[in-house]
Symmetry: C2
Subunit: 426 residues, 2 copies
């Protein structure tokens, strides 16, 4: 364990404001999210449903397949006719017909006869198995030798073997994957009731910020946060909308938040959230919403504001781009996920690797730190995590990094050589 | 190890056609992909570049920040004025001015004076550090006590500390993440040269297939594959286009492939690829492209066709939806990735979990098997993998499954209780 990082000790952090530990903040957020009402269901054509969240349970209205079919190219037979067949002592059957693809065979083969059948062909009456082409030898125009026996049901898929009528297939809250959409297509389902997408309004605040497509005069900088936060929201499946850059003026600020709240489920502004001389964030937030959290014992990202107005969420994120990104990940992402109506399993949601930390990293007890790292791989296959150091405002550290690891609040740091779990950036 | 699965032994599989081991097929594919030419670069507005692949190297044309700035709310000082300051023995400074946000301070504080400054404010001349507000006490209208010393450079970000002019930031082939887009916004870059998206034309073949929005008469089934394959392509960042369902008629089939090849980078048809009576796939493919692979020792997915026409790829996937999905993952996905121009790191590209296999699963030596599993979690936190059994045609097995594991060709199976690596479905 490392020596306590007195510069940023918890005592200091708690000195001036309502800063709370990360797990307390997350609990508050979870409890508040439970009070939000669900939103109106949207009907969407099946082909556009990839990644959408089901808002209905799906039961099958049909058997799939509706009739037994062959899953091999070969011959539809009565299994009994093949018993005991070997290469030395084959069974002989006459090929008295063929199942045409897409046709419904009305009658089956006679005794000691079989029908030629291709993969997907309907099993004719009076047959119960398919002998693979590979296990036959053609001995005349109409005769085959069968060199391996089949059991009843072999090489066929029976009625309802894929899906039984009435069977529950997918539950409300499920995020639709390619195979789900494929199966629903097979059931003839052409539209689905899904959760509406989550709309996120985004703006930056600060007299020193100009839109990123403008050339800043001395003393001003281009807006990185809006673009970064919009991309983070998009990655999370939400629809971001920009509301520009707003000056540090309470009236303008209030109007911007109000408009964005009317038009979105979530509003994020960055800047103006720290406890400083020009802090308008909290006062504006308190006029329009109920403040839930202001300040969390995390580094970076500490001065985050979380508030709710009914079932809409309002976030004030730090002006430092890296702090804003970390606060987004910890607080905005769970709200997008909750509003999306998605049910999460306990399977890992992120790609991670175990890596050896290559540098001592101090942390204040009581605070959760997020350390950006670049990864390299040793010949042995082990990963090494190299902390990317830099001022918290420097977005370049996140560009250089492959992911991050956490130092939990119960820990005062990680020593060089310790194993850490690195969450990879997508 | 399990007893050899004689039913599907390699001898049988290699008996009739050019079936090759998976790793040989993958090597052939990789070598052929190296011969494909790269495509024309596209200029795209920065805000639309999330997930796009850079087609240019990016160097910074500016320093970020262009001037030193404060990263804290507090007071801009000469660090020397604070040396030795403690709570018992504070340093006293007069607050003789304030740095307004977004303004360029022409002159700095006089001797034994400081300027109030907010996060993001430009450091005034004659100062070299910022004392955090938290480490000061206001003692009069214009005086502060400083209770902790700062070192030169403390709480500021210097010129070019984030990005230095001329510094290489991102390389061609990089997949753009939110932070990359944020940083490029900060550099005033408004459009990027990126790789064009990969276009994939998709159709299904077979007299027994009807489009999924039609009601199939007896003997026919709805098309699941096109919808499933389109979603798989979309998930991989490609643009899928449907070309409908084509009958088992060589002329129609040929015309469909030809049209789709003209309009796309990759064409996939499913069905008609097995070595059977109605096998049109190979003959059509051979008329329009150079056959590279027909048949791979994998289960499911064996009868896959891979062909190239110049720098366009043509795939014949099995008609069974699960086989088609496995073959897509093994052969189409790498081609989309290669055509996309993306450079992959050696970091894991998929979410995986270690799980205990709960059932004996046989496999033929020489063949690579893909076993679909649903996962459950024990109280101990360990995952258990339950193989989802079913005919290879049954897409419902992939809907029930959370992911899959591989049985390598060198193995003849996995025993109940063995650990396996499960690749999670996204």
């Amino acid at each position: 364990m490392m020596i306590n990082d007195t510069e940023n000790s918890v005592k200091d952090m708690l000195g001036r404001s309502g800063i709370i530990p990360l797990k307390d903040a997350q609990k508050l957020l979870e409890e508040r999210l439970a009070l939000c009402s669900s939103r109106a269901i949207e009907d969407v054509p099946l082909e556009q449903c990839l990644g959408r969240i089901l808002a209905q349970d799906i039961c099958s209205k049909e058997d799939i397949p509706p009739y037994p079919r062959s899953v091999m190219d070969g011959y539809a037979v009565k299994a009994g006719d093949t018993y005991g067949a070997t290469e030395g002592m084959p069974a002989y059957l006459r090929v008295s017909g063929e199942v045409k693809m897409g046709e419904f065979p009305e009658a089956g083969p006679a005794v000691e006869c079989c029908f030629k059948i291709a993969t997907g062909g309907l099993l004719p009456p009076d047959t119960d198995a398919v002998v693979m082409l590979e296990h036959t030898v053609q001995t005349g125009t109409e005769m085959i030798e069968i060199v391996k026996p089949v059991a009843p049901g072999e090489n066929i898929i029976g009625r309802g073997d894929d899906v039984k009528k009435g069977e529950s297939l997918l539950k409300s809250g499920h995020c639709l994957r390619p195979q789900d959409i494929g199966l629903l297509a097979g059931l003839g389902i052409t539209t689905l009731g899904v959760q509406p997408l989550v709309h996120v309004g985004i703006f930056s605040t600060g007299d020193e910020i100009v839109p990123f497509d403008q050339t800043p005069p001395p003393g001003k900088v281009r807006d990185m946060n809006s673009v970064n936060l919009a991309a983070l929201a998009e990655k999370q499946g939400a629809i971001p909308t920009f509301y520009g850059v707003v000056k540090d003026d309470e009236e303008l600020f209030l109007a911007a938040v109000q408009k964005a709240l009317e038009e979105n489920d979530i509003v994020i502004f960055s800047g103006s959230s720290s406890v400083g001389s020009r802090d308008l964030g909290e006062s504006v937030v308190c006029k329009l919403a109920d403040l839930l959290i202001h300040g969390v014992a995390i580094k970076p990202g500490k001065p985050v504001i979380v508030a709710f107005s009914g079932s809409k969420a309002l976030f004030g994120l730090p002006g430092h781009p890296v702090s804003a990104a970390v606060a987004f990940d910890l607080f905005v992402r769970p709200v997008i996920n909750s509003f999306s109506g998605r049910t999460f399993s306990d399977l890992p949601q992120s790609r991670t690797v175990q890596a050896i930390c290559k540098r001592n990293m101090n942390s204040a007890g009581g605070r959760t730190d997020f350390i950006r790292v670049s990864l390299s791989r040793k010949d042995s296959g082990e990963y090494e995590a190299h902390p990317v150091l830099g001022k918290s405002g420097a977005l370049s550290t996140m560009v250089e990094a492959d992911g991050f690891f956490r130092i939990e609040e119960s820990s005062q740091g990680v020593e060089s050589g310790e194993m850490v779990v690195v969450y990879l950036y997508d």
